[in-house]
Amino acid sequence: MAKPIANTKDKPKNAAAAATITKTEPDYPLTTMAIVAPIVGWLIPGGGHFLLKRYGRGALLFISVVAMFLIGLGMQGRIYQPNGGDILDILGFVGDVGSGALYILARIMDWGDVMAANAAADYGKTFLIVAGLLNFIAAADAHHIALGKKP
């Protein structure tokens, strides 16, 4: 009687299929903290890291973003408004709004509502936009830490 020959070619395919079937849970499950931390981090620079008990990193991020924002205001930088109309104004607004509560505070207090046409004011505008963009990166970092992708 002939013995049944095992089909060795099918083995890896079956193993891969089995792995796909059993792997129902994602590697990094989305938790409440993974949603809350970036939102807090956006509102308060470094706040997401503080929430995740990364106090040193949170403090450095807070100092960096707030200092850049305040220096930008001190240099008579302009704060963009949402109804700019021009595409560059909209992009400027997207950058500025990254500063979260700082942006909201600046709008409430009417800070940065200047149209100064000098080099320092231009640098100030750049400082304000980059502060917001850096804060977006910091908020994304808080999200990755909360997911467990980063220690």
Binding site: M68, I71, Y123, V130
Partner: protein, 60 residues
């Protein structure tokens, strides 16, 4: 209050804070973060010098 920073000092302050954020967010361990932050700072400031010299040579 108006802050009067020269072009160079504004660029160095910008480089400092941007490098801190890049270092913290783009690397995992503390040592790697410090190294990457210093690397970014050196590139920022080095870029300022290179751009300055390029502009000076163009102007001549």
């Amino acid at each position: 209050m108006t802050l009067a920073l020269s072009h160079f000092s504004a660029a160095v302050v910008f480089a400092l804070f941007a490098s801190v954020v890049f270092g913290i967010t783009q690397r995992n361990s503390t040592l790697e973060q410090v190294k990457y932050g210093l690397y970014c700072f050196a590139l920022f400031v080095g870029g300022v010098f290179v751009a300055g010299w390029v502009m000076a040579l163009i102007r001549r």
